[in-house]
């Protein structure tokens, strides 16, 4: 029987940072990841990491911007903690070896980002996630831990009200296996692939969030889905907010810099929900380009700046859109980008289930509330990854050894193994495509009751069909058909929670825009949505938002 003190699922920045903290606390740690750690989606983060280290800037301003960006749904105590940790966290990553971009005086270079009062976003060209991921993985390489590489999480082992391990598929061998753990940390990242048009990697399927939900963990604020304003028109590949931070501007087909109508003070650097709605409005009102896009212009910044500070996106635009940003505008349109919701945790990663912790995009602390600011997610992975690792390690120190029985494996994996023995059933790719089309069409940037009801009807029909999934590939080794089916089942469960939460929330706040309830309604809705699984679907309840010093105000950018 495989056993460890702490099992971290997911090996992006949050998982790695959690593992490092637990190792440093003296625990026996294992990392389970369905990809090699360096292939994690953290590496795709482009723009930067926020820390109020500039002389003119302050932690309080960072807190205020984050609270305002969250549309007053973020928990202010957690946000204060988060912003205080920002400086030391970035310095630590620099000491681990991160190659950041530098100012002429040798200090860390900073760029302006959306919704921020000062240039606060520290960066490594436009591949900040990659730079951090490399440095953290290479630093972690000096520590001792066990890596289960290319193992996909299927479920959590819960016994006596306590999480005691995981069940996972070893993708190389094709075997399901149990790993016992005193504490499990979920750091499996986002589930953006519930949408078709998303900047997320194919592997962002929310396996950990779904496994937590199935095990009885409470999911929080799942209806808050961030759409990034600038993704490539055809492929939804991300074009960093840093492009606007460096001075990029948005134009409609009438050559108007339309953001002046939506955010007269900061224009393109309004927060993401505001810019995405503006683009959608322009296109819906007939001012988009014939392909349905608006244009992101960088030409005026000059070849040198564009090619040095925005090197990767130059490559992306050239390779994936046939556009040279130095001389041509980039056709862009919003795409799903970030999930504010996730497994509900306190500011130390603890969930409502004993022995279960979560961090990073898989978790909801909540610091992002109804809308995350650019540059805050990389910081979140490192700050709360560390806190979750420390808390899990402390819990594991005194927790009893996990009780896991070999004999249970057959029963717990029977449903998935049944998929492979069916002669007839539902194709995972087909269900996934239909789910994505449903979410794109009915649960997008602008929402209304009729659409959400139709979306819910369709997702529930898919949920029924998913009971009859069929895996035709009979080989055990690297069976992508099987992981496809596992991921599809995970995502359909989460899609339902998103839609139910969105339908119930009859207001507009941050990224959740109801055309039938266009105003924020603090009296009724200044509260977190909490979803727990029940036989008939997610059961919703609500929990209060933590306040400290910042009174809700109308958001103007």
């Amino acid at each position: 029987m495989l056993k460890h003190d702490v099992v971290v699922v997911g090996a992006g920045l949050a998982g790695q940072r959690a593992a490092l903290a637990a190792i440093e606390a003296g625990r026996d740690v294992a990392i389970v990841s369905k990809l090699h750690p360096l292939r994690s989606h953290s590496g795709a983060a482009q723009g930067g990491i926020n820390a109020a280290v500039g002389k003119e800037d302050s932690v309080d301003t960072h807190v205020y911007d984050t609270v305002k960006g969250s549309d007053y749904l973020g928990d202010q105590d957690a946000i204060e903690l988060f912003c205080r940790e920002a400086g030391p966290t970035v310095v630590e990553m620099e000491h681990f070896g991160t190659i950041f971009s530098r100012a002429p005086d040798g200090s860390l270079a900073r760029r302006p980002f959306g919704g921020a009062g000062f240039p606060r976003t520290i960066y490594a060209a436009d591949r900040t996630g990659l730079a951090l991921l490399q440095a953290l993985w290479e630093h972690l390489g000096t520590a001792r831990f066990t890596l289960y590489e290319e193992w996909a999480l299927t479920s959590l082992i819960v016994r006596d009200g306590r999480v005691q391990g995981i069940v996972a598929l070893d993708r190389r061998k094709g075997d399901f296996a149990q790993i016992g753990a005193k504490a499990v940390i979920l750091a499996t990242g986002p589930f953006g692939r519930v949408y078709g048009r998303t900047t997320n990697a194919h592997s962002c399927t929310g396996d950990g969030v779904s496994a937590a939900y199935a095990a009885g963990a409470a999911l929080k604020d799942m209806e808050f889905v961030q759409f990034h304003p600038t993704a490539l028109m055809e492929t939804a590949i991300l074009i960093t907010e840093g492009a606007r931070g460096e001075g990029g501007i948005l134009k409609n087909a009438n050559e108007e810099r339309f953001m002046s109508r939506y955010a007269p003070h900061v224009l393109e650097l309004a927060s993401r929900d505001v810019v995405s709605r503006a683009i959608l409005t322009e296109v819906l009102e007939g001012r988009g380009f014939p392909d349905g896009s608006v244009h992101l212009e960088l030409m005026h910044l000059g070849k040198e700046k564009v090619e040095s500070r925005l090197q990767e996106i130059c490559d992306f635009a050239r390779s994936f859109a046939g556009i040279d940003p130095v001389t041509q505008p980039i056709p862009v349109y919003p795409a799903q980008h970030y999930m504010m919701g996730g497994v509900g945790t306190d500011s130390h990663g603890a969930t409502n289930l004993r022995g279960l912790y979560a961090a990073g995009e898989a978790a909801c602390v909540s610091i992002h509330g109804a809308n995350r600011l650019g540059g805050n997610s990389l910081l979140e992975t490192l700050v709360f990854g560390r806190f979750a690792g420390e808390a899990a390690a402390a819990y594991a120190e005194s927790a009893a050894a996990p009780e896991v029985h070999d004999a249970d494996l057959d029963a717990s994996t029977a449903p998935w193994r049944a998929w492979s023995s069916r002669s007839d059933g539902e194709d995972p790719s087909t269900l996934r495509t239909e789910m994505q089309a449903t979410m794109d069409r009915y649960v997008g940037i602008y929402r209304n009751e009729a659409d959400l009801l139709e979306g819910l009807r369709r997702i529930r029909a898919l949920k029924e069909r998913a009971k009859n999934l069929r895996v035709v590939d009979q080989s055990r080794v690297y069976n992508v058909n099987l992981t496809d089916a596992l991921e599809t089942a995970h995502m359909i469960a989460l899609a339902e929670v998103i839609v139910v939460g969105a339908y119930a929330r009859t207001e507009s706040r941050g990224a959740h825009s109801r055309t039938d309830y266009p105003k924020r309604d603090d009296a009724r809705w200044m509260k977190h949505t909490v979803a727990v699984r029940a036989a008939e679907g997610p059961q919703l309840s609500y929990s209060p938002v933590a306040y400290t010093r910042w009174e809700p105000k109308e958001r103007v950018y």
């Binding site: 292939r39 590496g43 310095v91 620099e94 190659i99 990697a201 490559d315 690297y478």
Partner: protein
């Protein structure tokens, strides 16, 4: 999209070592727009024709390094290789797993040797406790110092270079282009205190096995240019240590040889590289060469136009301005 589609023929390597006696190629034909990425086509094959096709993929935007494979015999990222130019050149698209790595299944290869080589170059900062890092603040580093990393921070560890490298194929002792580019990244890092040891160690651990063919640089999807960084490592190693290995002695002998006469004196070069014992060891082979190709043994002489050669060396000896 008003663009038309083309008929695209894919011949895809299929092999499941547990089931198949031998690899085979399976043909799939699809109608696709010419700018369709190979990865999109493969996922379409998986979704619509054959869900049993095994491959690795994730980000689809050339940043995770998962989908490196051979496309018409070139090691590429499937996600950023468009089918149009491939079809125009070769008429079909042959998809095979990367080279120099054993096949787990279809296009999925065992990458353990690749990662092991990466670990072997100690890819982390080596610190000297006598020079602690500044407490509570970052190490200063000028933009010029950042420039010294060249393009190495862009590496996504996709292993396309490892797949393309003939030295990896010939000798498992060669760490491969990615590992050496990674080593370069640490050698030039002003925070790293292990430069000298790193350079000394790599001289005996495969640095000189590079064949200078530049196929790694051609294969790299992120323009990391590993072969140029390997060249830099060789220069730095010689500058720090002089010629300690066959490879470095050979390079130095070669340079001195040409400086003297403007052409190679192979006999002398063998001695410079391998010493007297080495000459004796290689004598039988030398005799065979002389018997077959006596014209190769020329009386040592200085070529005409030595003044031009001298100019080249003068330029080489001038202190180089920092890149």
């Amino acid at each position: 999209m008003t663009e038309g589609t083309v008929k695209a023929t894919f011949d895809i390597y299929r092999y499941d070592p547990g089931h198949d006696r031998a690899p085979r190629y399976q043909r799939y034909t699809l109608d696709l727009a010419p700018h369709t990425p190979v990865l999109t086509a493969l996922l379409k094959i998986r979704a619509e024709i054959d869900p049993s096709l095994a491959l690795r993929y994730s980000c689809r935007s050339a940043i995770c390094g998962s989908c490196a494979m051979q496309v018409n015999s070139k090691s590429r990222l499937a996600c950023e290789t468009q089918i149009g130019p491939e079809l125009a050149r070769d008429g079909r698209i042959v998809i095979e797993p990367m080279r120099n790595q054993s096949v787990l299944r279809d296009l999925v290869v065992e990458q353990e040797p690749f990662w092991r080589n990466y670990d072997k170059v100690q890819p982390h900062l080596i610190l000297d406790p006598r020079h602690p890092m500044p407490e509570g603040s970052e190490n200063p580093m000028t933009p010029e110092e950042v420039e010294r990393f060249r393009e190495t921070p862009r590496c996504i560890a996709c292993a396309a270079c490892f797949s393309a490298c003939p030295a990896v194929e010939a000798d498992p002792a060669f760490p491969g282009p990615m590992a050496l580019a990674k080593l370069y990244r640490f050698v030039v890092d002003p925070r790293d205190q292990g430069h000298q040891d790193r350079l000394a160690r790599i001289q005996t651990e495969g640095l000189w096995l590079c064949l200078r063919c530049h196929l790694c640089t051609e294969a790299c999807p992120k323009d990391v240019r590993p072969s140029e960084r390997i060249r830099d490592l060789k220069e730095m190693a010689v500058a720090v240590q002089g010629g300690t290995e066959h490879g470095s002695k050979h390079a130095i002998g070669f340079k001195d040889n040409i400086r003297d006469r403007g052409l190679l004196n192979e006999m002398k070069l063998v001695r410079q590289t391998s010493g007297v014992v080495g000459v004796l060891e290689q004598l039988p082979q030398g005799m065979r060469i002389v018997r077959k190709r006596p014209e190769l043994i020329r009386k040592p002489h200085r070529i005409e136009g030595m003044d031009e050669v001298e100019k080249i060396y003068e330029a080489l000896d001038r202190p180089e301005e920092k890149p």
